[in-house]
């Protein structure tokens, strides 16, 4: 039977190197995407991913077994992201309002369609870009909450632990985020409506 994440990390802390590999393999994409969605910058997100895993495996942070491992991991990633933004020396804020503003500020925003893509994916990528921009327009807290909820399927309690805020607050944040997104994306969801 496969080990749970919690068992894995405890296994690693007991000195099992194999657990480290497993953790890395299991969570690397997730961690990278979370960082990428928060930072909207591929290079930074890659750095954060590296920082996170290296810090964890260097046992920089203590793990509390009563917290879910994923929750804890995301907290670490989140802090690393905040750290990363500070390291940009406050030139840029976490809130990436939109492409134009940030280009003016000198920050680099990676939007999804930068890769060379086959023609049939253009429409798909355009949709992805629209969604990304809409999410980036949200206020920071709403953005974080909805990213955790929509893309990483965290429940409200986990979100409140990761974001360090109260449960009712999370409820409101997600509600507001969805309301805003609905307004922002309405034209796009209407597209081709019958």
């Amino acid at each position: 039977m496969a080990q749970t994440d919690e068992e894995l990390i405890i296994d690693y802390l007991r000195g099992n190197d194999k657990a480290m590999e497993l953790i890395f393999l299991k969570f690397k994409v997730q961690v990278f995407n979370y960082a990428f969605r928060l930072l909207s910058n591929r290079a930074d997100a890659e750095d954060v991913t590296a920082d996170t895993f290296l810090a964890i495996f260097a046992k920089k942070y203590s793990y509390q077994p009563e917290v879910k491992f994923v929750t804890w991991l995301y907290t670490v990633v989140r802090n690393a992201c905040i750290d990363r933004i500070r390291k940009r020396k406050k030139h840029v804020s976490l809130s990436v309002k939109n492409k134009e503003d940030n280009e003016a500020e000198g920050a680099q925003i990676d939007v999804v369609d930068e890769k060379a893509v086959p023609v049939e994916n253009i429409e798909e990528n355009e949709r992805a870009r629209q969604v990304q921009l809409a999410i980036n327009k949200l206020p920071d807290e709403q953005k974080e909450a909805i990213i955790l909820r929509a893309y990483h399927s965290m429940d409200y309690q986990q979100i409140s632990q990761i974001m360090n805020c109260s449960l009712p607050n999370v409820k409101i944040l997600i509600f507001r985020a969805r309301e805003n997104l609905r307004k922002e994306l309405s034209f796009f969801m209407m597209e081709g409506a019958e």
Partner: protein, 788 residues
């Protein structure tokens, strides 16, 4: 509670985060409020829109690099940290805990919590110097080893409380909830600080007792400062209030010893409407020989394992009128007489006309499922082209009328005559009518009379009298012979059989009859079956005949129904515009976890049949509407109810799901009435592309009829369906109802509601009342949040 607050609740409900009470509130509200159902649907649509921004992959270079970096942690792990040693001790503790459990039976019976000596205490004794030297030591704080009735030791979990290393760097990175103390209640009761070395057994017992009270939530922090290992301040920091935990504890131990405290006050039972239900005298059901085929409801199917749902359309309406007969006799219909698809298709819906050159249009609509808001309901509607009078081809009709003794009742032969007279009124000169009757033997009453010679036809009908046995098979054979003789090419050749379904003489071997009908079908002669009467009604046989004969099947219980079938919807019945109409729906596992087809139990096809033109399926008449409803569990839905248990993942096959945000793809095959080759229509359904218009009357009404069917069948998938909500929705969706069919439906629902004792649970409980029940043992999750 205003709408905004409710929407927040609905939002939480959508995420599966509503408490039981909130859930109840939301579900009651959703039943009433179309706007909020739409809102909930909007949430689903938003979620699938958001999925467009899919996961990026981490580039292999970076992955490789991190992997290399990781390599350096591999050596010297054991030297570097104290964790491994501590965890070994923890393992020991767990074992010790086990032993303790087995030794001390009290723990079992009283459900007490035990506390075992923390490893650091032992460690101090063993290695005092070593520990003292280390400035930055990680101290396991407490070892609340919980022992519950099942002797399940959760030491591993509770024991692993470490405090982070106190380097500056570490603190900077330390997760918020580790460093900030906001969760810790301020009004904690300090416990006298025992020094660790001096823990005498008595003290330990004392501490044990205290800890019993606050259970695993007690976290004692010791701070170690320079010099020696003296606990400076021992604070009992409970996360909940101590009193509360204590009383819970008391209640629990009391429950164990058989006394559950003061029982909660018995509930006041309100009858909200204060209506007195007089006992309805239901006449004992007359002993009948009616036969219904057994219907096993469709189950939820996993969209990954069974992505395809294939069915033949069903244009029959018999079940609804049969149900109406039962209800009008103050009886609930037998379960197997309820075919939900026939109930839905009894009504005509307002779908758009097909575009030019197509025989029909397809309409889809997705919304929240009214009887289970966690699910969605997908409506697939087909509208057949309406023919204008001049476009209608000439007909060659053979009325095959059963005049056996069983047809003598007032609601049989007289009704048959009445019905056919109404039909004859709308015939044209180019149509031909023959009449074949059968009783003990069969005979031709009228052979190919033109449609405008109404006097002759009506006179012939009037002469018919009932008597004798029933040689149905012979009659059918003769009728087909006559039809063959008068065959009109490019016309509409049809045998209309009016019977109570009881064949008892001659070729009543069903297989032989079916073979005959199938053979004639292929020659272009279709069959319509009209069912009459009751008592010895053979529903199953007649449905099968119509099904095999490329025909339709209606049940006529009164003159109004005869009017509907034989006058208002005559075109629908007589003129087939497409035959062998099959629907195949492919669900997208990205969006759909599982689905269930409502009704159509005996119309399911194998998935291979869809592309097989030799397989028979349903026919679509001119102006016909056919509606299928799917109940869908959206992917990522938090289902509270029991969905079928999942199957183990396949060992040798990996199903790869393609990226798409479609909900499903509808494929439809049909043949032109005289063609042997099918044509394909494909349509994708995407939540994103659904319009924002309010829920249509079609959807509301069809879902109300389906819900009614679920109630009559007492289906296990009925969720929180109720007659109330059926009425409410149907009332709001009467739409264009020239003949009053929908109005009549309301009457039937009310009748069923008063007859149905299965669903009459009108006990109202105040919102905060719950059954007295033993408290479940809470999970050992000491983290509680401010907001809770």
């Amino acid at each position: 509670m205003n709408h905004e607050e409710l929407k927040i609740l609905v939002n939480a409900y959508y995420d599966g985060e509503a408490t039981a009470e909130e859930k109840a509130v939301v579900e009651t509200h959703l039943k009433e409020c179309g706007e909020c159902r739409k809102f909930l649907q909007g949430l689903r649509r938003l979620s699938s829109t958001l999925k467009n921004w899919s996961d990026e992959s981490l580039s292999p270079d970076v992955s490789q690099k991190i992997h290399q970096e990781m390599g350096k942690f591999k050596e010297g792990v054991k030297m570097q940290n104290v964790y491994s040693r501590v965890s070994v001790t923890i393992a020991t503790v767990v074992v010790v805990a086990f032993v303790a459990v087995f030794l001390n039976q009290n723990y079992y019976s009283l459900q007490m919590t035990g506390r075992l000596k923390s490893p650091i205490e032992r460690d101090v004794k063993k290695y005092p110097d070593e520990l003292a030297q280390k400035q930055q030591i990680t101290v396991p704080e407490s070892l609340g080893v919980r022992v519950d009735g099942l002797a399940k030791v959760e030491g591993d979990k509770a024991a692993m409380e470490f405090k982070g290393q106190k380097t500056d760097e570490a603190q900077q990175y330390e997760p918020y909830y580790l460093s900030s103390g906001y969760r810790i209640q301020q009004n904690v009761q300090p416990i006298s600080p025992p020094t660790i070395e001096a823990l005498t057994p008595e003290q330990e017992t004392e501490q044990l007792a205290v800890r019993d009270v606050s259970r695993a939530s007690l976290a004692v922090r010791s701070r170690q400062d320079e010099g020696g290992f003296q606990a400076q301040s021992y604070e009992a920091q409970t996360y909940g209030s101590t009193e509360e935990t204590y009383s819970q504890e008391l209640a629990k131990s009391a429950c164990v010893s058989g006394w559950c405290g003061t029982p909660p006050p018995s509930p006041t039972i309100y009858y909200p409407q204060q209506t007195y239900y007089p006992p309805i005298y239901t006449y004992p059901a007359p002993s009948t020989t009616e036969e219904y085929g057994r219907i096993d409801e469709n189950e939820f199917l996993d969209a990954t394992q069974n992505p395809l749902s294939t069915l033949s359309i069903d244009v029959d309406t018999a079940s609804y009128s049969n149900i109406r007969r039962f209800l009008n006799q103050n009886q609930l219909p037998p379960k197997d007489a309820v075919r939900i698809e026939e109930m839905i298709n009894y009504f005509t819906y307002d779908y758009p006309q097909p575009s030019w050159g197509r025989p029909f249009s397809i309409t889809t609509e997705v919304s929240t499922c009214p009887w289970n808001p966690q699910h969605e309901l997908v409506l697939v509607g087909i509208q057949g082209k309406t023919l204008e009078n001049r476009q209608v081809p000439p007909s060659n009709l053979v009325f095959l009328i059963d005049v056996s003794g069983s047809m003598a009742d007032y609601n049989k032969l007289p009704l048959v005559k009445q019905g056919f007279k109404m039909l004859v009124n709308s015939l044209r000169p180019q149509d031909k009518v023959s009449i074949v009757v059968y009783a003990g033997s069969s005979g031709v009453v009228l052979d190919s009379v033109p449609g405008h010679d109404k006097y002759q036809i009506i006179a012939a009908l009037d002469r018919l009298q009932a008597g004798g046995s029933t040689a149905g098979g012979q009659g059918i054979q003769l009728a087909y012979q006559i039809a063959q003789k008068n065959f009109i090419h490019y016309g509409n050749n049809r045998v209309i059989l009016a019977t109570d379904g009881d064949f008892n003489v001659g070729v009543s071997s069903e297989a032989e009859l079916v073979r005959l009908i199938e053979e004639k079908r292929n020659q272009g002669i279709f069959l319509t079956v009209l069912g009459f009467g009751m008592g010895n009604y053979k529903d199953s046989k007649m449905e099968q005949l119509a099904d095999k004969g490329n025909g339709n099947y209606a049940y006529i219980d009164n003159v109004q129904e005869a009017q509907k079938v034989m006058v208002n919807e005559l075109g629908t019945m007589l003129f087939t515009i497409a035959k062998d109409v099959k629907i195949q729906i492919e669900f997208n596992p990205n969006e759909v976890k599982a689905y269930r087809l409502i009704g159509y139990e005996n119309r399911l096809l194998a998935k291979e049949d869809f592309n097989d033109d030799t397989k028979d399926a349903g026919e679509l008449g001119a102006g016909h509407t056919v509606t299928a409803l799917y109940e869908v569990i959206p992917a990522g839905a938090f289902t509270f109810d029991s969905h079928r248990p999942s199957v183990d993942p396949l060992k040798y096959q990996a199903t790869k799901v393609k990226r798409s945000d479609d909900l499903m793809t509808i494929k439809l095959r049909y043949k032109e009435p005289r063609s042997n080759h099918s044509q394909l229509i494909t349509k994708e359904v995407n939540r994103r592309r659904m319009s924002w218009a309010p829920i249509s009357d079609n959807f509301q009404f069809a879902s109300a009829v389906a819900e009614f069917g679920l109630l009559l069948r007492d289906s296990k998938h009925k969720g929180n369906a109720s007659y109330q909500s059926v009425l409410m929705r149907a009332q709001g969706a009467l739409g264009h109802d020239p003949y009053g069919y929908r109005q009549e439906f309301l009457g039937l629902v009310q009748k069923a509601q008063s007859l149905d004792y299965r669903h009459r649970v009108n006990v109202y409980y105040p919102p905060n009342w719950s059954y007295p029940q033993p408290q479940p043992v809470p999970e050992s999750d000491p983290i509680k949040f401010k907001g809770e």
